[in-house]
């Protein structure tokens, strides 16, 4: 049996990669060690959050699956940062850990051109620097034209609790023992990373009277631009907030050396931005308390995820730690927290298309590239799937720019800067975040989705209509003027806003911070969707800032336009600082813009490089 594309791994990256490739009419095989674990959520029961939520919107805009699937599995939906501006708002859903994987599996199974096989891949088959298939544990070989590796935390996975080390994937699944050795032989640099997960608590043993209820939004929210609401806000479930106590901190300090991390039992580097509770207590010792969220995992079972309490302490210490928390004095731990160590490759060995530099037609996505998070994985999976397909079609890869998407920021960071600890996408990683908003992901990316063939004609028509409507409303508001008549000023005063002195267009009125599009509707019948009107409002209010951000982005794009010849010999560029020379040789950036983002390459080095390139034009 021969396939065009084989995807190894059925997590969030693998699902997006396989769906993109199959939907682009390439015969695709998804190989997973356990079909039951497809689209599994082994850590937190939520999708989205700052920056990550925007990635989900981007995935949807490009024609990926995560947004739609999260909508189907939503237990609670919430827009974060609503008190701040539109640039940093992001959606976060609590997602049902049963429904989410079930729905994803359903989608995979009903997608044409896509087969799923339960097996363990041990080796890549490579000839002349090009991958041509995979070899399974049982020795069977499957041929393909391209392979996408999305192995998650499974490569040489080791689970740690206290001083116990056990070779195993998440949930006691079988780990992949040989694939990372094979990758090493092929020339990849293998890194050891670590991540962790907190306890699951039996919800019937929690005293909720000592917790603070955290509800979702009262307006319906969706990740997908399809806007289908599966769970109305009134039916959504609540999370609960508690804080650690002085006693918790005492216990942790007392038993610190028994944790895998502090006891020295961990080789892997853990994520800085998602620290374990031990880390938090040690590193932020001045903080008297840390907040923890009790998050339901599913409607179908009783596990409550103790967000913020990730630990690698031995089980018996975890018991007393958990019992020191308010409302959890008698809590029953259903699953103990653990740390997991796994192999990853050096993401600097990747091109911006996510194809590896070493082996042609081999792509990697997700935790194998050193990222953490479902959303980061899915975003890469989608891009790897699209680009592997485009390669087979003989077309140029889809490379998203930093001013176009968080996915672009993520991939550029990975291939340009590399990672030391598991990479988490943060709002602050995006220089042009005002352009990369939750609300405009479709306006930024749907064209690409359509061009690569993942957005249907029908959807694209709807999208075009939306763009036209936004333009039309802006025009109407600019044309419509109101004058300081008594009844008009009375309305404006009660909003409250400053009464008019002169005539003003509705568009200019909308620029006032206190005026919303709802107020504008008082003067004019606007029969347009909430999303369309939201765009108009953001445009009116932040036009000046958006222009500024665009101006900054243009500077960056100008540097992106300056290509560095593929075969440049950095040893021939005189006077580069030695660190810069070494980094440039290692990463081989394709543009001056990318080169300027490499840490250790200073503006002076860029000047020197530019001088060299101008002279050798």
């Amino acid at each position: 049996m021969k396939y065009e594309i084989i995807v190894v791994g059925g997590g969030h990256a693998g699902c997006e990669a396989a769906l993109a490739s199959a939907r682009k009419n390439h015969k695709t095989l998804l190989v997973t060690s356990n079909i039951k674990n497809i689209a599994d959520m082994p850590c937190n029961p939520s999708i989205g959050g700052p920056a990550k939520g925007i990635v989900v919107r981007e995935i949807d805009a490009l024609g990926g699956e995560m947004g739609r699937n999260a909508d189907k599995g939503a237990l609670q939906t919430k827009m974060l940062n609503t008190k701040k501006g539109p640039a940093v708002q992001a959606l976060r859903f609590q997602a049902d850990k049963i429904t989410y994987p079930k729905e994803m599996l359903k989608t995979l199974k009903t997608t044409e051109n896509l087969d799923i096989k339960e097996a363990m891949v041990e080796k890549l088959i490579v000839t002349d620097g090009k991958v041509i298939g995979v070899e399974l544990e049982d020795g069977n070989k499957i041929e393909s034209e391209a392979v996408i590796l999305t192995t998650g935390t499974y490569l040489k996975a080791v689970i740690l609790t206290g001083s116990t080390r056990k070779s195993s994937g998440p949930h006691g699944e079988k780990e992949s023992r040989f694939l990372s050795d094979n990758l090493k032989e092929l020339g990849f640099t293998i890194k050891r990373l670590k991540t962790g997960t907190p306890q699951r608590i039996d919800k019937n043993t929690i005293d909720y009277s000592k917790t603070q209820e955290e509800k979702g939004d009262s307006v319906p929210r969706t990740f997908s631009f399809d806007n289908i609401v599966y769970k109305e806000p009134k039916d959504q479930i609540a999370c609960h907030l508690i804080y650690t106590t002085p006693k918790t901190h005492e216990i942790i300090k007392e038993h610190l050396n028994e944790s895998s991390m502090y006891g020295g039992y961990v080789e892997g580097v853990g994520p800085r931005y998602c620290p374990s509770i031990e880390d938090k207590v040690v590193r932020f010792s001045d903080k008297e308390r840390h907040q923890l969220f009790l998050e339901p995992e599913s409607l179908y079972y009783d596990d409550i995820y103790l967000q913020g309490f990730s630990t690698s302490m031995p089980n018996e210490i975890q018991d007393i730690m958990v019992h020191s928390l308010p409302g959890l004095e008698h809590a029953k731990i259903l699953k103990y927290g653990y740390a997991i160590e796994y192999d990853a490759i050096d993401s600097k060995q990747l091109k911006r298309s996510l194809e590896t530099k070493i082996i042609e037609n081999l792509y990697t996505a997700g935790q194998i590239n050193g990222t953490s998070g479902y959303e980061e994985a899915a975003g890469q999976g989608l891009i790897a799937g699209i680009n592997a397909s485009l390669k087979l079609e003989g077309k140029a890869p889809l490379i998203l720019k930093r001013n176009e998407s968080y996915i672009g920021v993520l991939i550029d960071d990975l291939v340009t800067k590399g990672v030391k600890d598991p990479y988490r996408l943060l709002t602050s990683r995006a220089e042009y975040r005002l352009l990369l908003r939750n609300d405009n992901a479709d306006l930024r990316l749907r064209d690409y989705g359509y061009q690569v063939g993942l957005i249907s004609e029908k959807k694209y028509k709807e999208f075009t209509k939306k763009k036209e409507n936004i333009k039309a409303v802006i025009e109407i508001l600019k044309q419509t003027r109101i004058t300081p008549k008594k009844e008009i000023n009375e309305y404006i005063k009660q909003i409250p806003s400053t009464p008019l002195k002169d005539g003003i267009s509705l568009y200019d009125l909308l620029k006032r911070p206190e005026i919303s599009i709802e107020n504008i509707k008082h003067f004019l019948n606007l029969d347009y969707s909430r999303e369309e009107l939201e765009q108009v409002e953001i445009n009116a209010k932040y036009e000046g800032y958006i222009k500024k951000a665009n101006k900054e982005a243009e500077k960056m794009l100008a540097l992106e336009e300056k290509k560095i010849p593929e075969y440049i010999d950095y040893d021939k560029v005189p006077n580069l600082a030695s660190e810069a020379r070494q980094k440039l040789k290692e990463i081989r950036p394709t543009t001056i813009g990318q080169a300027s983002r490499i840490s250790g390459v200073n503006p002076a080095d860029i000047s020197i490089l530019m001088v060299y390139l101008r002279r050798n034009d």
Binding site: G85, V88, Q291, E431, Y542, Y545, E552, K555, P603
Partner: protein, 451 residues
């Protein structure tokens, strides 16, 4: 930059000794090939060696040679300095000898260019070196020297660090929206920080303007209707006949420049074509040029004729210059007074005539008073000294101001952050820590880095 460059580093023809400097990988070898004395290729770094420069077995001069090996040299390359006896002929002959032995004549500023490109000095420092080379007076030289010591860079770096901390605390709040225990940056905090930074930056810019005056001089434009005596005043100031002085109205059609030194400060004086309505095409161009000169000037000297009544043209000139730093000269005060300017409440009036020196002296004193020239020199010299730096500092200031406006209009913090980020980047460009195309263009313009 694989070749070795050579230049005479001291002013030609003055002084008891001259220095010829070489930089590049063959510097030591080239000098050694025409040196009689110790073998320089085996000399230790940073030593001075006695001997003779010879050309075709003929001794040219008795010299001391400083050998400085890479990388601890000005250019980070091998550098050799030949200290020879002053005097045009022997200095030039040594230079020629170096050229025939394989060195290339350095372009202006090329040693500095190498120092910059080799990462030895930052942009501000390299600009400072160019300033030192070009400095017209002692004050300018001092400022340039202080920049070379890095005081400007340090000041900007400190400023950027402050901003960086503010930006970082804003970003933590964005990325951890639900982490209630993180100290929230309130708009009041930000407002306060912005206010402080604005004050600091404003001070830097204001003081930098003074240094521009020191370095580049006070751009003084003399304007007035034809034949009121502008050129005569200029000539009196310059004490030389540069502009053509005649009685025929409209003689000065070009813009004439001259320099005088007032208390160590250069006064660049520009005479303009008389401003009046005219149909003569050549004169019209002159008039338009005069008006545009007014916009650029640091100081405008408006000349009126005491012996004539105020005309429409005079009134227009007074109107056009009312926002500028201005001195009104009432010329020809030796003739009968027909001029009445009482309806204008004019300050800084000086009466002159070109037959006595009294009026011109008053004019000079007025200028010293207006620009507080006596005070400028007593300050320390941590300033931005060229137009590029000052314009970037101004951009940074404007961005801060916009951030302040944003805060006052209660705009979301992520918008305000854009302005703060811009401020940060503009300041970075001053010292070359933010890469921008303009820096490179600047580099190309000043260092003749061509193909």
């Amino acid at each position: 930059m694989n070749d070795t460059i050579v230049a005479i580093s001291t002013a030609l023809g003055v002084g008891a000794i001259s220095i010829i400097r070489l930089s590049g990988k063959d510097a030591i070898k080239i000098v050694n090939n025409c040196f009689k004395g110790k073998d320089l290729t085996t000399a230790e770094s940073h030593t001075i060696n006695y001997g003779h420069i010879i050309d075709k077995n003929q001794i040219i001069d008795e010299v001391l040679i400083s050998v400085m090996k890479a990388p601890k040299t000005y250019t980070t390359e091998d550098v050799v300095e030949i200290n020879c006896h002053g005097g045009v002929i022997s200095t030039k002959r040594i230079l020629e000898t170096m050229l025939t032995h394989g060195a290339r004549l350095a372009e202006p500023g090329e040693f500095t260019k190498r120092a910059f490109l080799n990462g030895r000095i930052d942009l501000v420092k390299s600009e400072a070196v160019i300033d030192i080379i070009n400095s017209k007076n002692e004050e300018a030289n001092k400022i340039a020297l202080s920049q070379l010591n890095g005081s400007t860079s340090n000041m900007i770096k400190k400023f950027r660090n402050k901003l960086k901390q503010l930006l970082a605390s804003i970003e933590v709040n964005i990325d951890y929206p639900e982490y209630y225990d993180i100290e929230v940056v309130t708009k009041d905090n930000i407002r306060k920080s912005i206010k402080e930074m604005k004050m600091d930056l404003d001070k830097i810019i204001k003081e930098s303007k003074n240094t521009t005056l020191i370095k580049e001089g006070i751009k003084t434009v003399i304007v007035g209707r034809p034949n009121v005596g502008k050129s005569s005043i200029l000539n009196k100031l310059l004490e030389q006949d540069k502009a053509i002085v005649t009685n025929i109205a409209g003689t000065t059609r070009d813009i004439v420049e001259g320099e005088i030194c007032l208390d160590g400060i250069i006064l660049n004086i520009i005479d303009t074509a008389g401003i009046r309505s005219t149909n003569d095409i050549v004169e019209k161009i002159g008039v338009e040029k005069s008006l545009s000169m007014i916009d650029d000037a640091d100081l405008v000297v408006v000349v009126l004729n005491n012996n004539e009544e105020l005309t429409m043209d005079d009134e227009e000139i007074l109107e056009k210059t009312k926002r500028k730093q201005r001195i009104v000269v009432i010329n020809k005060n030796d003739l009968s007074k027909k001029l009445d300017i009482s309806k204008y409440n004019l300050k800084n009036i000086v009466e002159t005539n070109t037959n006595t020196v009294e009026g011109i002296k008053n004019l000079k004193e007025k200028i010293i008073e207006l620009f507080e020239l006596e005070n400028i020199k007593t300050k320390d010299y941590t300033y931005l000294t060229n137009a590029r730096q000052i314009s970037l500092a101004k951009k940074a200031y404007l961005s801060l101001k916009e951030a302040e406006t944003g805060i006052n209009n209660d705009l979301p913090i992520d918008m305000i952050e854009i302005d703060l980020k811009n401020t940060f980047d503009f300041l970075g460009e001053i010292i070359g820590e933010t890469y921008s195309e303009e820096i490179l263009d600047h580099l190309f313009a000043n260092f003749c880095v061509g193909k």
